[in-house]
Point group: C2
Chain length 336, copies 2
DNA sequence: CTGTTAGCGCCTTCAA
DNA sequence: TTGAAGGCGCTAACAG
């Protein structure tokens, strides 16, 4: 069914070894004549090497694994697009796995992908302050198999690890400072899960901005969310009860929930409530009042992580760049 | 670095063949004693078969390929999520490729994926009335390699092809009829590319509804779009010039563009303009006026296509189900 | 009951 | 300038 190297060799009347040499551009001692012939015949016969066989012997599969919480989520979809593009441009393809809520599933993908011979793994998991057992298993496995891994937060694990860093602290700071500059003092927060590093860092930035302005931190203004629309809906009544005039939501989806809840309470954004979001997704364009938001570019992060993993694979130096977000000012936050 | 079957065999003091038999549950004649020992040792040594080697000999890679126009696009992201889930539940993993605008890139992925040993390919390409040369190449290659393919429109090609069908005609019909029932007569359309089967089918449904109501078809009410926000923005002024009172956009993104344009013209949806969309995406929840839209469930289509390809791989019967859309009535279209 | 032998398709010495 | 031989890690016949 499939044309093999032997078929080509036979058709040329020479050995498979020579065909292999030529087709892999080993600039060896092969006469131009046979070389040309081999190339022509291979093309005519439509020969392409079986990558399973190639991988088995070379240990190179030109494949990288991408493990994300949810490929259906807009942020990770965008990221995966960028990863794929960058990989393709370097001759790699990508296998994807969504682990959902389950750390075990993530570990299962690690095993499966490594067994399939991926040369590296991009692990787009929002890390918790304390790594779960399964997380550790992932890193240990990768290390023991010599497979490099790229992650997005600087957690201390052994192995061949690359980090594509994002400055969440500055992100939180910028959002908060903007609201403070507009005259707001009671600024509510709808955070992510409290043990998630990226959420903790945003809070750190929030606190920094407050303290710079001499505003005391008030923990009753913090509502622990989970980055969903729903938590925005649920958080608003509580925070209104705390007398806030402005709100910093830790992502745009949550801001969306707040918009919807505000409509229910007959509140106007931004007149009655100023809002700053985080992620700067395309949602901004859609909302009736465009959302002021902190950039968190999935595309950039995807491309960068791909570059990082490719460098690790090639054992090239990769200069760790940490992305510093900026604030996109739109109409959802105004002077108090 | 990696534990091989030989290592396990050696540790057990037996041959690799026996280890293979036991671990693959070939219910052969192996004493319970050695069987138990093998299983234990394999586990202790943390042995997992190299899937490249397995694939090379069995021709089974437990991998399927998914080729989409753009994995960053919400519809395909959702679809791919469903594909992945269904595949995972059946022991398969998925490789993804986004071909963008380029048919050649799609073909390149076909080659690469097949060389990597995928057992089947889901080709989520909106087909044109006339297949491009590259499209044909894709199908021919797959056929010649004995790889089944699943597509989403019934185009006539040879090979092991499965079709997950969607009734776009009914979709177009439902949208149009709804508007007619509300008393509208001059109903504009922002279509997809004119040579795209799924767009042509929607138009067919549109015409059918018109003719049932005795309203003559007026081609000046048709604006050829491309499923983007932008084309919605551009189309509105033209269609307003044609005196429409209602609008059927061939997807929700385009409807979004119309919303934005309407704001610019100080028109109110639905008071000044009724709109029906297509896809029924989560955008509906976000818009200030929830969009009436025809369902086109990415998740369902993804799951179904995965089931279809898995059946083809196993050479099982797959009953071709054609999905009939329904209309989700919300607030964007009202009585004239 | 178990081990030996032979590949899968390819690459890589080493010898000619 | 080329071919033969060996092996990647595994499975599947066929022998014992």
């Amino acid at each position: 069914m499939r044309v093999t190297i032997k078929d080509v060799a036979k058709a040329c009347g020479i050995s498979a070894a020579t065909v292999s040499l030529v087709l892999n551009n080993k600039e060896c001692r092969v006469s131009d004549e046979t070389r040309a012939k081999i190339i022509k015949v291979a093309k005519d016969m439509n020969y392409r090497p079986n990558q399973l066989a190639v991988g088995l012997v070379t240990k190179k599969t030109q494949t990288i694994g991408l493990i994300v919480p949810d490929i259906g989520n807009f942020h990770f979809a965008e990221m995966s697009k960028a990863v794929e593009l960058e990989c393709r441009n370097n001759g790699y393809i990508v296998i994807v796995g969504s682990y959902g809520e389950s750390d075990e599933q993530a570990y299962a993908y690690f095993k499966e992908f490594i067994d399939k011979g991926v040369e590296g793994i991009i692990f787009a998991k929002p890390m918790l302050a304390k790594l779960s057992k399964e997380d550790k298993n992932c890193f240990e496995l990768a290390e023991s198999m010599g497979v490099p891994v790229v992650i997005f937060e600087p957690v201390s694990v052994k192995g061949d690890i690359g980090v594509v860093n994002f400055d969440y602290v500055t992100g939180g700071y910028l959002a908060t400072k903007h609201l403070i500059d507009l005259g707001h003092e009671r600024i509510g927060c709808i955070t992510g899960p409290n043990n998630m590093i990226s959420s903790m860092s945003r809070i750190e930035g929030y606190k920094k901005a407050l303290s710079e302005a001499g505003i005391p931190f008030d923990s009753s203004l913090m509502y622990e969310g989970d980055f969903t629309v729903r938590c925005g809906l649920k958080a608003l009544p509580y925070l209104l009860g705390q007398g806030i005039s402005a709100l910093f939501t830790f992502n745009d989806m949550t801001a969306l929930g707040v918009y919807k809840a505000a409509r229910q309470y007959n509140l106007k954004v931004p007149d009655d409530l100023s809002i700053v979001g985080f992620d700067d997704t395309f949602l901004n364009e859609i909302l009736e009042v465009p959302l002021t938001s902190v950039t968190h570019p999935a595309e950039f992060l995807g491309e960068e992580s791909a570059k990082c993993i490719l460098s690790l694979i090639k054992r090239e130096a990769y200069e760790e760049r940490i992305y510093t977000p900026i604030l996109m000012v739109r109409g959802s936050a105004i002077k108090k």
